[in-house]
Symmetry: C2
Subunit: 470 residues, 2 copies
C-alpha cells in the first residue's frame, strides 16, 4: 500500500512537471520526453483497485508552513508592517468569506476563479478574492470616508497553481490603502513610495514599477476605434504583453475578439511604448490622444505624479508603460505593478523567474457600489504579493548548522545535498593551522582552500552567479 | 429605500433578540413581549417589493475587526504567544481548508457544523473546524513523531452564533500541542500549567479548570450497564450538565436515548461528583469502578497528574469533575476545560456570563488515523478560545479621550452614552482649585467630587460591582 502511495505521488509530481513545462512553453521534445515518463509511471501504477485510497495531502495549490517557513514569513511581515505603520496606517481585519453578492460584478473575467461555499442553508457565501472589495464593503458599512488602513490576510483564487514559482490558490496579500478626498496624486505618490521602500528593505534584488492610467487606456481605445463594449476585454488582451509577443496579442484581438486589423495595429503603435516623464509629455502633444478628454486627464495626472516621484527620489524606479492594463474591473485611474528584474539563482534550483511582486491603483467607484445612496469615496492602494518574496527569502536564508552532538562529516554533506544547500565551509585542524577554510561545492564535490579573510567575498561570488531568467 | 433598509435591520436585530432570549431560556412573558414587537415591525415592513435589495453586512456569525479591536487582539495574542514560546513551542500554519475526507469521522455529532465548499470541479474541500485535526494531518504527512508546536488561526463552525457572548461562526483558536512519547502525565501537566499561566496573565478574573478522563467515563458507563454502542451519545448528554440540571440530562438519556432509568440513576450518582485529589483517591477505592481496567488506568493517571499540579502550585485551580465529557470524538485520555467564575459587568451591558475560555485533552489515536501504516503518535494539547477574552478585554479598555480641538462637555457626555462608557472624570477650574475630581456616572447622571488621591480606588470600586451571572 505504501509503495502504491509513493507511485501515486510520483505520477502526481510528474504530471505537475509536464504542466509546468507546458506553461513555460518549453521545447516540444522536452515536453514529449516528460510525457513519456508520465505514461510509463501510470502504466506501472495500473488501475486503482477497490475503493479510492485516502490521500494524505493539502488541497491543490495550498501548502503548510513549517516552523522554518514561518520564521521567513514573520521576518517579511515585520518589514512590511513597520513600513505601513510608519506611513500612518491602522490595521483592520475582515472575515475570510463574504456574502456572494458582495463579490459579484467586481472582478470582470476573473470572477470565475472565486471559490463559492456549498449552499448548506442560509446565506450564499464566497471566499474573499482580494482584500480590496472587503475594504470597500467595510468603508460603506461603517460610513467611513477617510482612513489609511493596512490589512494582511490570505485570499483565495481557483487559478492554475505554479507553486515552485510562488503561485498558490491560497496566498497572502499585504494591502495598504488610502480612502478619502485629497489633493490630486499625493496619496497615489505615497503608495508608490511605500512600494519602493518595502521592496528596497526586503533586499530581494533590483525592481521596476510600471505605471499607467485606465483613463489613458480608455482614451486610446476610443481614438483607435474600439467599440465601448469591448474596452474591458481588449484591456485583458493588452495586459498579456508582459508574457507574450505583440503578434500573439494582435491575433487574439483580431481572431478571438473580432477587432479590425487596422484598429489592432493602431493600438499596437501605442502599447509598445514605455518611458519616463518625457513619454508623458510627448503623448500630451500627440495630435489624436490629446483630443480625448479622458486620456488628457490621465496624462495630466501622470505628469503631476512624476513630479512628486522626482521629489521623493524614486522616479528612476518608475516606468510609464502603455501595455500595463491590470485585470480587475474596479480600477478607475492610475494603475501600477512592480516587477523584479532578476532573482538570485541557486545551484540545482529552478530560477524563480521575473514577475510581479506588488501592484495596485486607484478605484474611485468601488465604495459607491456598496453605499445605499451611491456616495463615492475615492481610494488608492497597493498590494504586496508576498508568496514569491517568501520563496526568494527562503532560498537566501541558507546558512545552517547540524544540531548533532557528534556530527559525522559524511552525514552533514548528505544533509546539504538533501536540503539543496550549495556550499559547505569546512574547518578542521589542518585548516585552523593554515588559516584557511575549505569550501566545498555540494553539487560538483569540488573543494578549494580559501584564505579566511577572503571567505565572505568568495561565498558572495559563488552564490551570485549570472542570472538565468526563465 | 434607506428607510426600508433601516426597518429591515430592525427586524433582523429584533429577531436576533428573540432567538437570544429563547436560548437563554428567558421567561415566557418576556419572550412573548419581544415576539409581539417583532411581528409589529414585520407588519410595518410589509411585503418585499421588486427584487431583493442588496444587504450590506458580513456573513452571519462573523464580524470585522476595527483598528481598536485589532489592538485588543494583538495585545491578547502577545500574552498567549509569549507563553507558548516560553514553553518551547515552534509555530506552524496550515491552509484554511482541507480535503473533505481529512475531516470526515473526527468530530462525532458536531460534524454537521462543518462548512463545505461548493463542488466547482476538482477536490471536495471543507473549511477547518479546529486546528487539531490539521495538526495531526501535518504530523502524519511529514512523518513527525515529536514536536511542540503552536498555531493561532481562525476556524469555522456553522453553529448558532451568540455574538454578544463571544460565540461566532468564524473565530480564532490559539492551540498548543505536544506530540511524542514521554513519561506519563508530564506533557499533560505542562498543558494545564500553560492554561493557568495564560489565564492569570490576561487578568480576566478568577477561573477554574475542570479535569476528567475519557477512560474514567468509559469505565463508568461500562459498570453502569450502558451498551458500548451508546457510549459516545451518552457522553454528549453528560457534557450538558454544566448548562442544564441533572433531571433534564436524565430525561434525555432515558426518553431520547433509550437508557433504563436505573442505569441513568447509577450514572447520576457518579457524574454529580467533583473535587480534588481526594475524590480521585476515593474513587480508586470504589468497589465497582476499581474493578474496571480502563477506569483504573484513568484514575491512576489523574492521581499522578494531581501530584505534578501540586508541584507546579496550581492544584487549587483544578477540579476533578466527573460530568466533564467534551464533545469531540478524538479524545482518548485526560480532558480539561477552563471556565471563568465571574466576569466584570459594566453599566448598561449584558453580562458576558460564565463559560469556557480554554479546553483540551489527550488524543493518542488521531495521528494514526492519517498514517498509511496506522502508526500512532501520542498527543496532548490545549486551545484558548480568545473571542470571549477579546470581549472581556474590550470592555475593560475603556479609558478614552475625545480627539477634538475644542470639545464641548455635552458632546463628550453624549459620546460616552453612545459608546457605553460608564464613568467620566471631569477636571474643570474649580476641581483643580479644590484638588478634587468630579466623577460622573453616565447612566444615572449622578456626580460626586472625589479627592485626587482616592480617584483610582473609587474608579476600581465602581467598575467592579457585585457580579451578576446569567
Amino acid at each position: 500500500m505504501a509503495e502504491r502511495a509513493a507511485l501515486e505521488e510520483l505520477v502526481r509530481l510528474q504530471g505537475e512537471r509536464v504542466r509546468g513545462l507546458k506553461q513555460q512553453k518549453a521545447s516540444a521534445e522536452q515536453i514529449e520526453e516528460e510525457v513519456a515518463k508520465l505514461l510509463k509511471l501510470k502504466a506501472q501504477l495500473g488501475p486503482d483497485e477497490g475503493k479510492q485510497k485516502f490521500v494524505l495531502k493539502t488541497p491543490k495549490g495550498t501548502r503548510d508552513y513549517s516552523p522554518r517557513q514561518m520564521a521567513v514569513r514573520e521576518k517579511v511581515f515585520d518589514v512590511i508592517i513597520s513600513c505601513f505603520k510608519r506611513h500612518g496606517a491602522e490595521v483592520i481585519d475582515t472575515p475570510v468569506f463574504e456574502l456572494k453578492e458582495t463579490l459579484t460584478g467586481k472582478y470582470g473575467e476573473d470572477s470565475k476563479l472565486i471559490y463559492d461555499l456549498k449552499d448548506q442553508g442560509g446565506e450564499l457565501l464566497s471566499l474573499r478574492y482580494d482584500l480590496t472589495v472587503p475594504f470597500a464593503r467595510y468603508l460603506a458599512m461603517n460610513k467611513l470616508t477617510n482612513i489609511k488602513r493596512y490589512h494582511i490576510a490570505k485570499v483565495y483564487r481557483r487559478d492554475n497553481p505554479a507553486m515552485t514559482r510562488g503561485r498558490y490558490r491560497e496566498f497572502y496579500q499585504c494591502d495598504f490603502d488610502i480612502a478619502g478626498q485629497f489633493d490630486p496624486m499625493i496619496p497615489d505618490a505615497e503608495c508608490l513610495e511605500i512600494m519602493c521602500e518595502i521592496l528596497r528593505s526586503l533586499q530581494i534584488g533590483d525592481f521596476l514599477v510600471k505605471v499607467n492610467d485606465r483613463r489613458i487606456l480608455d482614451g486610446m481605445f476610443a481614438i483607435c476605434g474600439v467599440p465601448d463594449s469591448k474596452f474591458r476585454t481588449i484591456c485583458s488582451s493588452v495586459d498579456k504583453l508582459d508574457k507574450v509577443s505583440w503578434e500573439e496579442v494582435k491575433n487574439e484581438m483580431v481572431g478571438e475578439k473580432g477587432l479590425a486589423p487596422e484598429v489592432a495595429d493602431h493600438i499596437g503603435d501605442y502599447v509598445q511604448q514605455h518611458g519616463g516623464i518625457s513619454l508623458v509629455e510627448q503623448l500630451l502633444q500627440d495630435p489624436e490622444l490629446s483630443q480625448n478628454k479622458q486620456a488628457l486627464e490621465g496624462l495630466g495626472d501622470l505628469k503631476l505624479l512624476f513630479e512628486y516621484l522626482t521629489l521623493f527620489g524614486i522616479a528612476d524606479k518608475i516606468s510609464f508603460d502603455l501595455s500595463l492594463a491590470r485585470g480587475l474591473d474596479y480600477y478607475t485611474g492610475v494603475i501600477y505593478e512592480a516587477v523584479l528584474l532578476q532573482t538570485p539563482v541557486q545551484a540545482g534550483e529552478e530560477p524563480l523567474g521575473v514577475g510581479s511582486v506588488a501592484a495596485g491603483g486607484r478605484y474611485d467607484g468601488l465604495v459607491g457600489m456598496f453605499d445605499p445612496k451611491g456616495r463615492k469615496v475615492p481610494c488608492v492602494g497597493l498590494s504586496i504579493g508576498v508568496e514569491r518574496i517568501f520563496s526568494i527569502v527562503e532560498q537566501r536564508l541558507e546558512a545552517e548548522l547540524l544540531y548533532k552532538k557528534n556530527p559525522k562529516l559524511l552525514n552533514q554533506l548528505q544533509y546539504c545535498e538533501e536540503a539543496g544547500i550549495p556550499l559547505v565551509a569546512i574547518i578542521g585542524e589542518q585548516e585552523l593551522k593554515d588559516g584557511v577554510i575549505k569550501l566545498r561545492s555540494v553539487a560538483s564535490r569540488e573543494e578549494v582552500d580559501v584564505p579566511r579573510e577572503d571567505l565572505v567575498e568568495e561565498i558572495k561570488r559563488r552564490t551570485s552567479q549570472p542570472f538565468c531568467i526563465c
